[in-house]
Each structure stands twice: as structure tokens, then as C-alpha cells.
Symmetry: C2
Subunit: 255 residues, 2 copies
């Protein structure tokens, strides 16, 4: 059971519909659906918001609107304020990444509100006083204030990851076992000798270079098949004509 439906995003007096729409898209990307606006002061109509919500227009359309922050968070066990500013009563800010696991635990038993202030001046001290948690997104010292929708993205992203819902794509081809890698090196050794890239005397040394090249990253069974195919085909092509021994064979790093 996902706890994401128990998490809502609350925007206090947003000014620009584009930010609200972008916030909706960020929420949808991160599996959140519930948006509440507190006394919105939209100055530019909703067209830009609808455009930027993109495939998350349903979140924008289904938003709740209330007049005060206490109304917006009345049903929430945790109220997480976001702030870029510091001050006497904001010293206990934590990083979203640090708080996220705790918020996910709380969301299993109650509602959680992520609260974002106005574009121009954030949350007031009174609004901060309604919060049970206070987070500050890490930034460079030289520019600490994020765009509203970007702040929604970072916080939603951290909650989404803390929920552990995301399954990283897996490669379909398994990693190659040592036996296949060794067989590949044998085929390449024969091929490189056959085409005169190296001679018997230097072969052991030169093959270490290829060993390094082919095993530095992950090598899958598919990779092995591709590289064996090259060796086979070169062997076949080289069989058709006499090749001159290559002079001064070198590999970068193996002079």
C-alpha cells in the first residue's frame, strides 16, 4: 500500500499560475495527487498553468482551495514547512532527504502536508508556527531561493524515493560469468595473432590491455556475443588474404 495518497501539497498564496501548473506536473511525476491552494493570488489567469501542468491537468482541476493555512492542514498529522530563510525560529530546519523517511512513516498513519510559501516572500513566521517540521532544500550559498515548482519537485522527489516504490530498470542480459569472459579473451587473442596485430612474444602483455578495456565496466552476455562475433568475423575475413605482420604493435598505455 502506497502512502503517497496521504501526502498533500499546499501552496500558500501563489502568484503565478505557471508555477502552480508546473508544480502539478512535478507532483504527478512523483506520484502525488492532492493539491490545496491557500488564498491564491493568481495575477495572470489560468492559461499558463494549464499549459505547464501538461498531462497533470487533473491535479490542477481537482485542487482544493481554502482561505487559511490552518484550514488547509487541519487533517494533517505532520505539517512540513519549506523555507530558504533562516532565523531564530527556523534554526531547526532539516534537509528534505533527512526528513523524508520519517514523513513516510507518519503518512502510514495520518496525513502529511508539504507547505510552500509565496513566490516572493515564502512563509510568514505565523505560518511556520503551524508546522511540525521545517525543511530547507540544500543550495549553493550564492542563490538559495528556488522557483516554487522546483521546490515542489525536490521535496516530492525525496518523498517518492523514500517510499521505495521505484524499481530501477534491469538489463535483460545477465552479467557474463568468468568462463565466458575468458573464452572471449582467447578468441580475441587468436584473432589478433592471425591479423598480425601482435606476435606470440608480445601476446600475453598486449592481451592485458584488452582485458582491461573489456572488463572495466559491467560486461553482459550480450556484450560477450557481440565481441565474440567480431573475433569470428575477423578470423573469417582475414583467412581470405595473407596479411603483413603489423610493425611495432602498441596499445595506448601498453607501449
Amino acid at each position: 500500500m502506497s502512502v503517497l495518497p496521504n501526502i498533500k501539497v499546499v501552496l500558500v498564496e501563489p502568484l503565478y499560475s505557471g508555477n502552480v501548473g508546473s508544480a502539478c506536473r512535478a507532483m504527478a511525476n512523483m506520484g502525488l495527487k492532492n493539491l490545496t491552494l491557500v488564498a491564491p493570488k493568481i495575477v495572470d489567469g489560468w492559461e499558463e498553468g494549464e499549459r505547464l501542468a501538461c498531462h497533470a491537468k487533473n491535479i490542477l482541476e481537482q485542487r482544493q482551495t481554502v482561505q487559511t493555512l490552518p484550514e488547509a492542514v487541519a487533517d494533517c498529522a505532520a505539517v512540513v514547512g519549506t523555507t530558504a530563510r533562516l532565523g531564530l525560529y527556523r534554526q531547526h530546519v532539516r534537509m528534505p532527504r533527512e526528513v523524508a523517511p520519517e514523513l513516510v512513516r507518519i503518512a502510514a498513519n495520518g496525513n502529511v502536508a508539504l507547505v510552500f510559501g509565496r513566490e516572493d516572500k515564502g512563509l510568514s513566521n505565523e505560518e511556520v508556527s503551524f508546522c511540525t517540521h521545517l525543511v530547507r532544500i540544500p543550495t549553493a550559498d550564492t542563490y538559495v531561493s528556488l522557483n516554487l515548482a522546483q521546490a515542489v519537485m525536490v521535496c516530492s522527489y525525496e518523498l517518492f524515493l523514500a517510499c521505495d516504490h521505484y524499481e530501477e530498470p534491469q538489463e535483460k542480459s545477465a552479467l557474463a560469468p568468468a568462463a565466458h569472459r575468458i573464452k572471449l579473451m582467447e578468441m580475441w587473442r587468436l584473432m589478433l595473432l592471425k591479423i598480425g596485430y601482435m606476435n606470440d612474444e608480445k601476446a600475453d602483455h598486449m592481451m592485458q590491455g584488452f582485458q582491461r578495456i573489456f572488463t572495466r565496466g559491467a560486461v553482459t552476455e550480450d556484450d560477450i556475443h557481440i565481441l565474440m562475433g567480431v573475433a569470428r568475423q575477423v578470423g573469417w575475413a582475414a583467412g581470405k588474404q595473407a596479411l603483413p605482420p603489423r610493425e611495432n604493435p602498441t596499445l595506448p598505455g601498453n607501449p
Copy 2:
């Protein structure tokens, strides 16, 4: 020494200047400065881009523009493509959070490019073939495609955090040692007895409730002073008049 100056953001054929401007702001928030555009196809002029870059207009103004991706990344040891799509040659995508420490290590010795595709169709397979790393931002299955500037934010944020530059704000007041917490509980016990909130018989039991309330979160020396001040002041105020013993003293959870 920060490695952030060795990291550049490359946007391939961006369409909307607003996304480029928002990406600049996200970069500035996360300490990045170098922006390269590959064959930009801006359809709406640069006004919106300048507006959304906000205090990061310098990044927008100092951008490089080139015609091909190979030109943009020619000087880069690591070329990190971003993709929302999966496919045969995109199976080895990893999460930005997972790759970030490796990229920071590489950036200590060479340049790193974070490459983002077009708003409408991302990076082509040929462009992906120029990449040494491929990342995919974790999302809900229902909406995997992030806004371009949001994708820049998430990747930049992960690199910034992996650099470990951010120092979390510290509370100025130290956490209170046990001796002060115990002294506080003694003062509250006396105060609560004095005002008739509880009687001697129930005091041990009821004080466990206050102990729980006051020690559930972190308690700083400042917090201790505030709460001791309350006890002192109540004691003083209560001394001025005779109080009736409170009936049926209860604490929520301690019935």
C-alpha cells in the same frame, strides 16, 4: 576545491526559452555555471527565458552555443545522457543518485557533461551513443516525463549533494544535557503540584506524560530555559492566590 566548475549542462535543441531560463536558475541554485546549447530551436524569443532565469541571468548570457552534441562534449571525460524512455540500448540506465558520486570523482580529473534532450522527444539513439553514462530520474509509472528544467534541477541537485558542499544549518543552542532535563522535570512537578493540576499520589504517573511530551523531539538549552521560565512564573503567580485542587486530573493518553 569544488569540482562543480568542471560540470556543464548541455541542452540539445531546446524549444522554449522559459525552460532554458528555469534551467539556469536551477543550475545557480545548485552551484553550476556552465551552460551549452546544441542547435537551439527557440520558438518564443528569449524574454520568458530571461524572466525565469531570475538571478541567474549571467548563466543564460554566458551560454555557449554549438551545432552538434559531439562539439558540445568534446572536452568531457564523462557524458551523462538523460532519458525517460527505455529500449535495447538504454537498459543500463542508472539513477542520478546512484551515479552522482562517481561523476563527482570523475569531475576531479576531467569535465563532465549532463546532457538533456528536446522537450518533445528527448535524445536520439545516436546522441545516446555519444554518452558514457545514462541516467533516468525515478518517477511514478503513470507520468515518467519531467519538464526539461525540472530534470536539470533533479540532476544538478544530486550532483550538488554528492559534492558534500552543503552545511546544514546548526541550532545555536546546544542540546540540553540530562541534568538540565531532570531539573526541568523537577520544577514542573513542583509547579503542577502547587497549582493543583495533580496530587502527590498521582504525580509520578502524570510526570511520565510530561517527560514524554518534552523529550520526544530534540530539547535544546533554549527550550529548557523557556520551560523553566514557565514553571517559575506559574509558581510566582499561583503563590498570590489560593487555588482549588483540580478535579480528575488527566493527560491525553494517561487517563
